[in-house]
Symmetry: C2
Subunit: 195 residues, 2 copies
Amino acid sequence: MPRTLDIQEKIQELRLFYRREKRLPSYREMLDVFGYRSTNAVSGLVKKLVEHGFLAKDAAGHLSPTAQLSGTVRMLGFVQAGFPSPAEEAAADVLSLDEYMIRRPEATFLLTVNGDSMVDAGIHPGDIVLVEKGSQPRNGQIVVAQVDGEWTLKYYVKDSVGVRLDPANRKYQFIRPRQSLVIGGVVRGVIRRYE
Amino acid sequence: MPRTLDIQEKIQELRLFYRREKRLPSYREMLDVFGYRSTNAVSGLVKKLVEHGFLAKDAAGHLSPTAQLSGTVRMLGFVQAGFPSPAEEAAADVLSLDEYMIRRPEATFLLTVNGDSMVDAGIHPGDIVLVEKGSQPRNGQIVVAQVDGEWTLKYYVKDSVGVRLDPANRKYQFIRPRQSLVIGGVVRGVIRRYE
DNA sequence: ACCATAACTGAACACCCGTTCACCCGCAAC
DNA sequence: GTTGCGGGTGAACGGGTGTTCAGTTATGGT
């Protein structure tokens, strides 16, 4: 049998280059990245990386990274399961938070939360909500809405009476719009960063 | 005065190409993207995009996108401020969730939360925590730890007695490790996605 | 109405790109 | 020990790359 090649190691090198330069290296640059001396070796390796789904090639032959390559964090299991072995880590799915959290980039915006009306839903002051504009909210979804001139974050509920906006905090009561109701967008996600 | 050029519009086109192809177009491809007929026009525009910080050029002349270009979501203000006008939207800072949330990609992992011991800290079952390995936790930080063989999510507190692990839920009591304590990592962020 | 000037055209250039070819190397199985 | 075969070398090729230069066009200010 012929000699074997460690693809994982090559991917790691390529990933480092991509993180540093934010672009894929040319075949000549890959000579350094992979430790080759012939671009033909690179050509063969690239073919494999495409087969394995780390790179994609369009009709004109242009290379582009897939989520498997450009992703920044590894998705492991549950907290209860703890941290797996290094081998399991390497095999874990790599994903990009942007791709995971955002479906319609052109319609999605970030807003910082400044009230405590949604704390029981796990949305605290200082958290950032991902809001998607231009889609009709369904019952139970969290929306950013302007009720009688004031913008708030609430559960959207449509009942027999009309539209009701529920807080997730016993300190506050639900609201029914008197004059105007503008739905800014539907909350698709929440992110929080610890300093 | 000479004719003027709408850079924002060009950036938008370029951003669309980048989102679609996950790479920057070549100068000939930019002819289509920007609606030019000469690569010299492209050359001039690229120079301006570099000046404005949307593109970067390394020593060898290779182009790469900056966060301003590759970012996926626009950062607006606070919920109370509501949604700004389209003009303000265009001027808003564009950022990437990956860059915003992750400092050390090679040491950061995602774990799904399955207990309710941290609900009062806004971390619910099903949420995903970003855990950074290999850094010493400070008092008050949330950690993923293995206490006497079991993995949990708790506040890390070091007092005169030793290390104590506090839940954020009145139903549970704090824990002091009897035999073993392994700190898996420090929680740097939380993300939650609504279906 | 007319400049001044930035935006843009069109073409030419040197260079770098990815592909391909024939050939060599080294390891594992037989 | 020999052989099969995937991994890698080195070189050559055609086409695509970004740059540059001289010249043209369009527009906002005077």
